[in-house]
Amino acid sequence: RGRRASGRAGGGTMAMRGLVVFISDIRNCQSKEQEQKRIDKEMANIRQKFSKPGDLNGYQRKKYVWKILYMFMLGYEIDFGHMESVGLISSPKYSEKMVGYMACSLLLREGDELLRLIINSIKNDLTSQVDNFMCLAMGSICTVGGKEFAETLASDVQKILLDKMTKVFVRKKAALTLLRLYRKNQESVNPLEIADRTLALLDESNLGVLTAIISMVLGFVTFSPEGWERAPQRAIMLLTRIVINKEYSNDYLYYGIPSPWLQIRLLRLITFFPPLDPTHERVLIDRLVTVLERIIKGTDVTKNVNKNNATHGVLFEAINVVIHQGRATDLLPQVVTLLGRFISIREANIRYLGLETMAKLSQHPDCADDIKKHQSTILFSLKDADVSIRRRALDLVYSMCDDTNCRPTISELLSYLANADYNLREELVLKIAILAERFADDYAWYVDVVLQLIKTAGEQVSEEIWYRVVQIITNEEALQKYATQTVFRALLEEPQPADKLVRICAYVLGEFGHLVADERGMSSREQFGALLDHYAGSDLQTRALLLSTFVKLAHVYPELEGDVARTLRASLSALDQEVQQRAIEYSVLSSGRFAELKAAVLEMMPAFPERESAVLKRIKVRVADETGQGRGDVVAERLARQPSGGQRERANSGAAERASGATSGRAASGDLLGGDLDVGGGGGGGGGGVDAM
């Protein structure tokens, strides 16, 4: 095998035999130690050679740098050879220059000091008028170019891009290099200045250049569409040229399709601008519709996998455009049918994309009903063997949930949660919580759902969720009694309740326990007893919360004072700082000297002010982490847009967190509840607790 490969690599006598031999040596090493030894030997050799740079000719330097690169790729740390690479860049010989640039791109990182040294070389190459050198230079800008590069080199690159004489393959690179520089430093390029001339370049017939330029325009437009308003028009005309008029050279046919990548980019570009206006842009819309129809109708399933992928890639992009344009085109119904078919197809890739696109579609109010027809298929996909598909299905279920189908959807999701795999769980829990809150017509049901969540997946339930429940209970007087009963009963039933359950119970009983004290099995003693049972086994945060509850209970029920005092005393020297502090402060507070202060501190919590849901914020962050920027916003945005049906927004989690700790006598900093509430005003909101004594 080695012989055959090195024969081919030879090709001529000038190939770097030294490199080939080195690679064979490494491959023949039997063990890691042997390999390490060989590598060390080589590194020592090269180091020695580099210490006498005058003795090396270009060829040798090149060879050594390639060896270094190879070792680097294998995973060994390289701490020398950088200067030689930089030196090679200024060589007039193409092959040496090339390896110099490549080494710098691979070994150096953006922001490295050494990069400053090469800026000048790059500038020389850019202005050298030698095509290959210009390309190399631009290539390296794209890999390691940073802000400094942008300042110095942007104008040179711009010139290359817009110059009429630039060769095709150079212009391509110039377009993308300029984009890179712009991304690094927006000041270095002025889009308004170049927009018109760039769009004029689109008359070019070479599809490769067009692809590069469109990618560049897309990049610019992501920052701001200003200056590029003519772009959608151009895009549509280009699409017409390619798809309808078939004006392209056969060079660019990919399995019979003219440059699918270009088509995809053009379609995507259209979605970055506002949908076309039917009254003013009728002609444009008609052209667009012609193209889209041709694409949609012309896509068949073929035997050839690659052709299939390419045509469907374009098709999905076209579908995105249809969705984006909304009612301007009349193609929505067709699209919905297509997607409906896709999500049950056997081929996994198409199913995946079908589900993903349908999630985008579900943002459209018109299509909601059509999508619901496929509900059973979608729910079935939740159980697909492929985790990627399950994720997409979950997204879709989440975005298509609305008033009419929320209850069955949520029960389905809850039963799915019981068997869901680990990495989906946290997201699933968050989504269920959000959906339940949004579409709850009856808050009692909402409380049930969250309790169920805690019971099934206690650990994945984040803090924000139970804070949210508490806030809602606090704000809805009618709910309080039911909630307290249910939560308490849940605690009693579980032999080993999750910490979150204990916490929620502790807080709720502390605030509203008096509402249920008359019920059987729920007397004050029983409340205290149940909570005390779990005290020792709970984690520190829960214990801290429990202490707060105990002191509240003692305040309301004098008969418990003795037991509570005993519990507090036992914790006076607890190791955890929070627990100890609370124990001490509460003991002192209850000692009788501070009756008034105590009454004020232990009053019931008032209603929380309105603010953005922290749970919603949390899911944006979480989904963005998991899937990259765009997706999270889409889902959360839709919920934000939906009418909340008269539900009030609740305060954010930070407030609740401090609220649960607020009953310690600490001076309520203005930060309590985010500073919207002054402590004095609290009395009006919930005086009930004290009065109920």
């Binding site: 081919r8 690599a9 090339m98 490769g208 996994a348």
Partner: protein, 155 residues
Amino acid sequence: MIRFVLMVNKQGQTRLAQYVNMHNIEERCALESEVIRKCLSRTETQCSFYEFRGYKVVYRRYASLFFIVGVEGDDENELAILEFIHALVETLDRYFENVCELDIMFNLEKAHFVVDEMLMNGCIIEVRGTNAKRTHARAPERRSACMPAHLSNAH
């Protein structure tokens, strides 16, 4: 934006690694091994995309070598990337005449050239195999130095 292109074999050995933003060596090793592990654990019937650490990973297996592309952000069409991988393989195939893993290993620099021609700044710029090859043929030295004569003429 394409963030990385990897060619990794089934034993987890990286044959080619091109990153748009360089990470340090430990991160890269960790990333590469995670990625290949996930690819290996997926079956033929599952789809070719999965999500990993904020990237969307598109992969395709050719014999013993996995071609893996990591994309960040929402602006890439997955099927386009899949076909880009195929176009890349076709180009390598034409360049090396029935390319195999060994070819890539021993001709690392040429494999890098090809990838560099087709990908720039995280965007796909050239997918015509002959065009990518032609650009390399232009480099006068390289024509004599590296490429057998028949390849440079066989557009």
